[in-house]
Amino acid sequence: MANPTADKAKPAEVKVDAQPVTTMSVVAPALGWLIPGAGHLIQKRWVRGALLMFSIVTMFLLGLAMQGHIYKPNGGDILDILGFVGNLGAGGLYILSRANDWGPGAIARATADYGTKFLIVAGLLNFVAVADAYHIAIGKKQ
């Protein structure tokens, strides 16, 4: 016979919803940061990965073609720091740009400022894509 008082005395179990750290949950975001869309491609999300890669890479290249500015690491103006963080999101594209000294950014036209924004937003969109690749890797999203 069940003892209702004993059942009541049991402490409620606390459910911990911790996600296991798998190899894919580390590799997919890292690869996705380095090569936009690759975090999805490595998880066999071919169409999504290809579309993300196309969108982010094209946006970054358009920014360069519009004479946008690539920010270097800096500790000065807050907008310059944020610009660097945004640029850094593009991963391999940012490294490639810095290595080749692309995007010197002497802004001569109004639309060149759009180029700078394209470069920053391409990096920020890649951060979003990296987070999505992580969510797929841990099974939070299909």
Partner: protein
Amino acid sequence: MTITLTHFSAAVVFAFFASIVFGITQRTTPREMVRYGLYCFAMFVGGVLVAGWAMWLIRR
């Protein structure tokens, strides 16, 4: 290579690529992704048009 876009075409290109990424990353099923991507694109371009007309009215 240098590309010079107009203000409007730059905004439309921006909206196009940003909407693709938002659609893919913010929804789960392919159908919802397409719908949300189209919604984002419409909001981006609609916002540009509304802001453009608002500035035109302020200027007059």
